[in-house]
């Protein structure tokens, strides 16, 4: 099992979510993060003083999948998240050793994605 972590733009999330859903991967988690990288910051002005923000808002997408599904997930993210401008983000793949479904207490790759058919394929 692997965890795919992607730092992407807000606008790219909906297309990614929709394609992943149609591919049988409805299960994922996102959170609001702020990132810095090659992208430039912005400077704010307030009553004569300045404030510069080097961190820009991003969405962090986390999705744990079976090893063989990693390329599908990564490709889908890369496809929709790319605008070609700096700040498009990064995708990382981390190892996962075990997974449990809370509702049932089951463990293993079967619990990773919600759709029965996905599970069946496993």
């Amino acid at each position: 099992m692997k965890k795919v972590e992607a730092y992407i733009r807000h606008e790219s999330f909906e297309p990614i979510r929709m394609e992943l859903l149609s591919l049988g991967f409805p299960s994922l988690t996102i959170s609001e993060v702020k990132g810095s990288g090659r992208q430039k910051g912005i400077t704010e002005r307030y009553r004569g003083a300045e404030l510069t923000n080097y961190l820009r808002p991003k969405v962090k997408l986390e999705c744990v999948v079976a090893d063989r599904d990693v390329p599908t997930i990564v490709d889908t993210i890369l496809k929709h998240a790319r605008t070609g401008a700096v700040g498009d983000g990064k995708v990382f793949v981390l190892p996962v050793e075990e997974a449990y479904r809370v509702r049932t207490g089951e463990a293993g790759e079967e619990v990773l994605q919600a759709h029965p058919d996905t599970a069946a394929v496993t």
Binding site: E11, F13, E14, E32, K40, G41, I42, T43, P57
Partner: protein, 487 residues
């Protein structure tokens, strides 16, 4: 006071007839009498408009004490309640309250029209501009009383309960009490009359009693009491909005009490302004000191509650007491509200403290007349007797207690019955799932603060990023080109 107005009206008519013959012939031009009428009307309308704005005060006070998931419903609540009450008061409530001089209820003025004639009471005779102002002023009092009711029911009541109870309240419950005390009904015949200048009992205790009936049938919010039965803090989401509410209410009270002179005669309303402000100020100080000594922290909500409780308490005596009594009455109200909230919170979940700030303080204020009413003002208003400190007699205190008792019992019985019927039919409380999700999304289909609850990427919504040529290429899009700096 109200009686006094009647008298003045008579005197005026006589004067007009006897001493100012020109009034008869110069029909188109203003006379002293018409000007006096117009000035009274102006003040009543100005005061009424200030009282109307107290709706915003109640809204924001309650919003401040509510969690962010239940804020939109409060806005809809205040609009719907005020509106239903407006129409029902015009259809029926006003007629029962002020449409006649009978002991129980009035009998004229249903579906009030400008050409209607009121059969008796304060504004007996053709309605006219002054009567229209009186109608409006009394309506906004009814609406204040109704707004008070809901403070104990926040964050769990079904919306449908609002309009149903609003109808019963505006058509019957409030008009009964208003007629009995303000309109020349039975309570103005107990002793020399119950003293309640602007409604500590009529408006505030009535509202708080409705709130008590509601909360007894409704129960506490989920999570208010821990497994050990001890109350847990469910902090409201915004002290700034609470502060706005308190200040708007304080403002509105300058219409509420001084407007109850129903005119500008003798500049009496200016005295009432001073009395009202002194009491409110002392209420803040009383509550602040009390909560400080109890907890060594200055609870912000309690400072505001202190102001409200003192304003409620001074409402009845505001036309009856001298300046010096006002800070005393207010200070005690400030202490009462803190002690009351702390005690009641142990057993009843009253999110904004309406039972203390309007109930206990309303009782205290009504009783305070029996203690502090000055001979000068009892005489001026022509209602009741001087209070204990002047007369040494407990008589007026007793009369006040009778007024409180009758009002409380009447309102409680009628309100409990109404809420009970609502509970048994359409239901009084939302489901647990709806309560957890919040009333905004469950009853109104949208959060009151969408950006707090809806995931940002779903709020943005539009699909993939535009083609590079669409925006200045090379810029990250969510960033204004003009403000970029080099990393």
């Amino acid at each position: 006071m109200r009686r006094c107005m009647l008298v003045r009206g008579l005197v005026l008519s006589l004067l007009a007839a006897l001493f100012i013959p020109s009034a008869a012939m110069a029909q188109d031009g203003p006379t002293v009498k018409t000007l006096a009428d117009e000035l009274n009307t102006t003040w009543i309308i100005v005061a009424g408009v200030l009282v109307m704005f107290m709706q915003a005060g109640f809204l924001f006070l309650e919003l401040g004490f509510t969690r962010g998931k239940n804020v939109g419903t409060m806005v809809a609540k205040i609009l719907v309640n005020f509106s239903v009450s407006s129409i029902v008061w015009w259809m029926c409530g006003f007629a029962l309250a002020f449409g006649g001089a009978a002991k129980l209820v009035g009998d004229s003025g249903f579906f009030l029209g400008f050409d209607d004639t009121i059969s008796g009471g304060l504004i007996a005779g053709p309605l006219g501009g002054n009567g229209a102002a009186f109608f409006f002023f009394q309506f906004v009092f009814c609406a204040v009383s109704l707004a008070i009711v809901w403070g104990s029911t926040l964050e769990r009541i079904k919306f449908i309960a609002y309009p149903i109870y609003a109808i019963v309240f505006s058509a019957l419950i409030y008009p009964l009490i208003a007629h009995w005390i303000f309109g020349g009904g039975i309570l103005s015949t107990v002793g020399n009359g119950v003293q309640d200048f602007a409604g500590s009992t009529v408006v505030h205790l009535t509202g708080a009693t409705g709130a008590l009936a509601a909360v007894l049938l409704l129960g506490p919010r989920r999570g208010k009491y821990g497994p050990d039965g001890k109350p847990r803090a469910i902090p409201g989401h915004s002290m700034p909005l609470f502060g706005l509410g308190v200040l708007i209410l304080w403002l509105g009270w300058f219409g509420f009490n001084p407007g109850s002179t129903l005119g500008t005669s003798g500049g009496r309303f200016a005295e009432v302004v001073v009395v009202t402000n002194l009491a409110a100020a002392a209420g803040v100080i009383g509550a602040a000191l009390t909560v400080w000594f109890k907890t060594r922290k200055l609870d912000v909500g309690m400072c505001g509650n202190g102001a409200i409780a003192a304003l409620v308490a001074i409402t009845a005596p505001s036309g009856y007491v001298e300046f010096w009594a006002a800070p005393l009455i207010g200070l005690i109200a400030g202490v009462i509200v803190v002690v009351g909230v702390y005690a009641i919170d142990k057993i009843i979940d009253d999110p904004v403290g309406v039972l203390s700030a309007h109930g206990l303080a309303g009782i205290w204020g009504t009783l305070a007349c029996g203690i502090f009413t000055s001979p000068r003002l009892a005489d001026f208003n022509g209602i009741g007797d001087p209070g204990l400190v002047y007369s040494g007699s407990f008589k007026q205190l007793g009369v006040q207690a009778v007024g409180i008792g009758l009002a409380f019992v009447t309102v409680f019985v009628l309100s409990y019955a109404t809420f009970w019927a609502i509970k048994k039919t359409v239901g009084l409380r939302v489901s647990e799932a709806d309560e957890d999700a919040g009333l905004d999304i469950s009853e109104h289909g949208m959060y009151g603060y969408p950006e707090q609850f809806i995931p940002a990427p779903e709020l943005v919504g539009y699909g993939a990023a535009p083609a590079p040529g669409h925006v200045g290429g090379g810029h990250g899009r969510p960033m204004p080109a003009t403000t970029e700096v080099t990393a």
